[in-house]
Amino acid sequence: MRSAGVEVEGLVKRFGSFAAVDDVSFAVEPGELFGFLGPNGAGKTTTISILCTLVELTEGTARVAGFDVVHDRSAVRESIGLVFQEVTLDDYLTGAENLRFHAVLYGVPPSEVKDRCRPLLDMVGLTERADQQVRFYSGGMKRRLEIARGLLHEPRVLFLDEPTIGLDPQTRKHIWDYVDTLRAREDTTMFLTTHYMDEAERCDRIAIIDHGQIVAIDTPDALKASIGSDTVTVATSDDAAAAQALAKGFDLAVETTEDGVRFRVPDGEGFVPQMFEHLALGVRSVNVRRPSLDDVFMEYTGHDLRDADAGIADQFKNNAMVRGFRRS
């Protein structure tokens, strides 16, 4: 059997003189859950669009499931599924009709279409609304239908471009349970972009991409370990004095926040006793946090992931507004 992985080498995509994807190389193993983490405009969607044959690459090579995305487009299309970042449903069709359209185009035999749609509609909680036109759906419902549609034909390589953005935690959990089952049963290769930490943590490996370039690529644990420092937050009776004492006494870069004084040290738990010896102040609370992917993201890109997330949520809303407006 052919490899169901993804291989990308020296991938460049320019829009005019601007390089949206700038010399990117990576490989996704068959059956792997691979995550793309990056701020807005980093080039995530552009990369996915190239891999899915929707956008032509400028330089480099890319193979999906063993097929070249330039020379073997139809073979690539037969191997993949894609949940788009933006809504791509037909508003005048019902939820069920949207699914059927997809099923037929992907060659699901007509006799099986209903049986396949039912559990998916169940999963995203749209069974009752399935026969209503999509234009009457809420934004989250559209998103859920979109995901159900992407999972419908069970491709060998599935691309998920920020699939669960704007969904409530319970729905996200349902979707991830389904995805896990699918992966266990079909060994589906998955390529995910996300802004949610817990989803990034699920990935076998993560690539952090910024300004069109991959700045780090590894397992979540290894990435966190690579930062090599814990974050300590200590609240005292006089934070300003504590900050000064810590900065002087241990030569630390400290930051005063509303939760207390915050700084990073290689071994947080070992540091706390030393700190107590040194500080002649009333300590109200101490918090030691192992590095999170947030910190990793910050370390490699210089942006806070949550800022990026807020940005995209706004963008999502604006999009919905523009669409709604144009439609009327």
């Binding site: 044959t53 037969e78 993949i80 791509t88 449903l89 009709e97 997809h102």
Partner: protein, 283 residues
């Protein structure tokens, strides 16, 4: 039953791995599905049909009645002007509707559904063919509804002439849908599409013999009307509905019916082929 031991509500998992149909079946079904989608959308926006029919009727009864006495039957090739106009507005309705049906493509691109279709494992020609059938059938349905007005203006429709007319309507619709898709594939925005369409459609109708007979025209007008591909489809429809009318001529050559059909068909085939090519790179 063995199933009884399973929990009442199955876990949210689809039945075993997906069986996929072969390429040919998949493509044939895709054509059908894209076509059906257009019909479903039409059913849900019925006002489109109403406007598509109201305008031609206005032309027929207002313009027709108003010009009846100015254009004698001599000029209209042996019939009165309203009779002459009837096949013209039939074709005009089909022309407008077919050409404008491709607006759905611009629409789909703007609202993202195009990407859903383009990433699917079906050939671009299936998508274009489905679109052509969708636009074509909407246009032809309008044409058929308009035939009801035939007795009111003294055009006798027989079973034979009805089906002959239907054939030519289909041919004309196909050709124009293809032309529409070619234009739509090049348009990124709704506004520019509508502008280009208006610029194309009106000359195409005015210069086709739909509204006035193509006889004794200034020379340049005579040439332009014969270069207009729609002229031939309209001539054919008129001849099957009005058997005694004077046929289209080029210089002194009387264009036979089969040539009308051939020219319309050739134009349509060319446009559809071009549409497939352009559609492939439409994103």
């Amino acid at each position: 039953m063995a199933d009884a031991v399973l929990p009442a509500r199955m876990p949210a998992t689809a039945p075993l791995g997906v069986r996929r149909e072969g390429r040919l079946i998949r493509n044939v079904r895709a054509v059908w599905m894209v076509w059906i989608r257009d019909l479903i959308r039409l059913k849900r926006t019925p006002t489109r049909i109403v406007t598509g029919i109201a305008q031609p009727l206005l032309f027929l009864f207002v313009l027709g009645a108003g010009l009846e006495h100015l254009i004698g039957s001599q000029r209209a090739g042996g019939v009165n002007y309203q009779q002459y106009l009837f096949p013209g507005i039939l074709a005009m309705s089909v022309l407008t509707s077919a050409l404008f049906s491709s607006i759905a493509i611009v629409w789909d691109r703007e609202f993202g559904f195009m990407r859903e279709m383009l990433v699917a494992p079906v050939s671009r020609s299936s998508l274009v063919l489905g679109k052509a059938l969708g636009g074509g059938s909407v246009a032809v349905v309008q044409g058929i509804i308009l035939v009801i007005a035939a007795p009111l203006v003294g055009v006798d429709v027989t079973v034979g002439s009805f089906f002959a007319m239907l054939g030519f309507l289909l041919l004309l619709a196909f050709a124009l849908v293809g032309f529409g898709i070619v234009i739509a594939s090049r348009m990124q925005r709704m506004e520019s599409f509508q502008m280009v369409m208006a610029l194309v459609l009106q000359p195409m109708i005015f210069l086709s013999g739909a509204i006035f007979p193509l006889v004794a025209l200034p020379q340049w007008l005579g040439v332009v009307t014969r270069l207009n591909p729609a002229t031939y489809g309209i001539d054919a429809i008129r001849r099957v509905l009005l058997p005694h009318i004077a046929p289209l001529t080029i210089l002194s050559w009387t264009v036979p019916l089969w040539a009308d059909a051939l020219i319309t068909f050739a134009f349509g085939a060319l446009m559809l082929a071009l549409a497939v090519r352009l559609f492939a790179t439409a994103e």
